[in-house]
Point group: C2
Chain length 474, copies 2
């Protein structure tokens, strides 16, 4: 038995080896996969890489500062708070960093003052009541600060501040009993936080700053273009417009990406709201003033989503089983294509005015054109009568069931038109509120050229965004 026991052991160790090598390859391929993903992300979003470099820089700087004596000599072991502040406060956008900095300083200051006050009251009331008063005050303030974080208006702007408030209050009230150097502690904490936040603010704002406002502005521009592309592509798909040779060369994937662009718009609510919240903290930069109407961007975003819902339903129509007969489609092809191209022209013009931050002279005319196209479509409709009685033999007509898809397409296009008009109004209002510049006369000449829209259409990629962003910022 003890001899025979060796064989299963060999088998087992062989099995274990296989298992080991299996796990190693598994882990290895997972790591490779992960690195590949990370690399792709880094290539597609160089701004993120810059952000990471900035964080590394800020931390190395504050560490050196601590390590090389000046910080340590000033505030001693509490210098750690400066390092901690940098880690916690440094965010991707300048607005978010500023928001956290202000929250951290305000929360610390308020809680420090209140903590010292409560501590004074507690010490005055004798050693018996002291722990009770401290305990109750911690409970009450922790309760109310935590609750305030649920209130939307506080949550949006002071969520982090409330957390820091509780933290500092606890530190000050509780440690006050032990450390016996309350003011010194409060002073050191404030000083180190001030050092940490100033390093963050300086590096975040001066070194390739990522402005939440600019990001939001670009997001809206890109989403407008995505809507235009999706809408046009969707209607083209429905009427099976033959692509010309040039288009055929376009990657299938690229076309699909364009068609599905509206899906980004559907899911952009949270991002827009966060960005708008942070943008309000940012100082004036580029063409954006301190009181830029960021709230209007949220309205614009909501109207864009309502357009995207329409496009979603339109897409549903394209995929439906029952399709309109060719005769009927033929009759509406031209007017529908005209309308959809007018719609996407309006959207592209809106995107262009947003990108260049100018008041467009053409949008109103284009909206009117769009409405004319709707009228044309409805006039075409009026030429086709429908008999509601069942007495007429079917051979004479097409059953209504086959008219459904085209009727829905027309109806949704009409609905979409009115939503785009609302969107144009909201964007006009934004242009007035943000005091966009008027188009200069020279440019006006250029804008009236026929080639204008081709220029806009090619603006969809991120390289152009960079160029336009630079023009915005200068």
């Amino acid at each position: 038995m003890p001899d025979g026991g060796s064989k299963p052991l060999v088998v087992e160790s062989g099995f274990m080896n296989k298992l080991k090598s299996f796990f190693i390859t598994c882990i290895f391929s997972k790591i490779l996969n992960f690195l590949d993903k990370a690399w792709k992300l880094a290539v597609s979003e160089p701004k993120m890489v810059f952000h990471c470099l900035k964080v590394g820089l800020a931390l190395s700087f504050v560490s050196f500062f601590y390590y090389m004596r000046p910080l340590y000599d000033g505030v001693g072991g509490n210098a750690m708070w400066a390092v901690m502040t940098v880690v916690v406060v440094f965010e991707y956008t300048a607005g978010a960093t500023l928001c956290k900095c202000v929250n951290r300083v305000m929360g610390t200051f308020l809680a420090g003052g209140l903590g010292i006050g409560v501590h004074w009251v507690a010490t005055q009331s004798g050693p018996k009541f002291e722990p009770i008063i401290l305990g109750i005050s911690v409970f009450i303030l922790a309760f109310s600060a935590t609750f305030s974080r649920f209130i939307p208006s506080i949550k949006a702007r002071f969520d982090y501040g409330a957390a820091i408030f509780i933290l500092t209050f606890c530190l000050v009230t509780v440690s006050g009993y032990r450390v016996e150097k309350l003011f010194e502690l409060a002073h050191e904490r404030l000083a180190t936080i001030a050092i940490g936040t100033s390093i963050c603010i300086l590096i975040s704002l001066l070194l390739f700053p990522v402005w939440a406002g600019t990001e939001l502005h670009l997001l809206i521009c890109n989403n407008l273009e995505k809507l235009a592309d999706s809408l046009h592509g969707c209607v083209e798909d429905y009427f099976e417009i033959e692509k010309n040779d040039n288009d055929e060369k376009e990657d299938e994937e690229m076309i699909n990406k364009k068609l599905n662009g509206y899906k980004c718009v559907l899911n952009s609510k949270a991002t827009e709201e966060t960005m708008a919240n942070f943008a309000r903290w940012e100082p004036a930069h580029g063409n954006f003033n301190f009181r830029h109407p960021w709230k209007q961007y949220i309205k614009v975003g909501a109207l864009m989503r309502s357009c995207a819902y329409c496009i979603e339903s339109l897409n549903g129509c394209v995929d439906q089983e029952i399709q309109a007969p060719e005769v009927l489609k033929e009759q509406f092809r031209e007017v529908c294509m005209k309308l959809s191209s007018e719609c996407s022209n309006v959207l592209k013009e809106l995107a262009f005015t947003m990108k260049t931050m100018t008041k467009s002279l053409k949008v109103d005319i284009m909206v009117a054109d769009m409405n004319f196209a709707v009228q044309d479509l409805h006039n075409t409709l009026k030429t086709i009568p429908i008999l509601p009685s069942a007495t007429i033999t079917k051979s004479l007509g097409i059953p209504l069931v086959q008219v459904l898809p085209i009727a829905t397409t027309i109806s949704l296009l009409t609905e979409l038109t009115s939503r785009i008009e609302e969107l144009a109004d909201a964007l006009n209002q934004l242009a007035i509120m943000a005091d966009f510049s008027d188009v200069e006369d020279e440019d006006k000449g250029m804008f009236e050229e026929e080639g204008h829209h081709n220029i806009i259409i090619s603006n969809g990629n991120s390289q152009d965004n960079e160029i336009i962003k630079k023009t915005i910022q200068n």
Copy 2:
């Protein structure tokens, strides 16, 4: 001149007083308004109040623990870390708290180990290279940890861990040089974090726990009901169904709330994803096992949103200017109402099976009924022919333009039906994956009664949710 100067001064002080009182009333009314909002929130969401009480309790407890010596005697001034851990880690749901606790412990452990290693290498390489090695290591690790936070899979699960990793690494490497008691520091930091996290986990999980999983489950149930109500209300609105006396008594606001319920579904993506992420950290509770298929909930949520998009477009139809002539509406009223009530029956049945976590015997039959209703609708359609030629005089028929709204309604309802069917499939799959219990024979009898749906309909309020939640948990 110096005498005459007194008059404007009086005027000014009068003006200042007015300004003062104006500001005081302004601030006072703002505070009252804020308190009113907070009170309403507290009344509508008692769970949030419980959460705040729990945070207060946890903080008071850890403060007392520190204050009353045992914690202080053990780890000295670093006991502060325990207080800090509680403030930072205690979240609303048990899953979020667990996720943060695990992240904090893992991040601290990894970074502590790595930090000690790097520190050892640095000290071995002589005093000249030491600061350089430390600085470079801080830079590289801060860079890579910050970058990893941008990768979606890391962001969803280990975002906080990465932040803590950077923090601890900086603390250990940099302070190692000063404090000279590196292992002690690392040990104390781990010990205090362990104390803080255990208090959080105990209080969060044992005292009225709010499970992210249960919340997600209830969110899906409520959203299903909201979809059912919105859909039915919208189609009723379109066909201007007379409300009976009982309904008239219902508050106008209530009806509007029901109609607009689908809007909650449109915007629930972010919440669902966050909840599902946290739910994966939770231990088995109630009917939810550790490996409950939370990912499937995200799929279900996406399908529900696609239904909501359809309802959004349907609502657009209701508000359109051009309406179908009464004759035509009359012809479709019955079949459309039948279809919409079949659809909302399916949705309500799905909500019921989710709430009771049972495999429904009726859903398949109901889906079949729904499809029959679609067929009925299409049969009705087929009885109405349409003549595509413009040669027939208009007096004989209704122009197609007037048919648009009803055609769109029908088309969207058809589209919605197929989306609801997909949703039912996804929920069936969920029931299989999560091993929902079969309905017992006794219950089956009850379910087959006619009054069944009335029971379900009344389940929409939060009180019932509580009851059902309790049955889920027991």
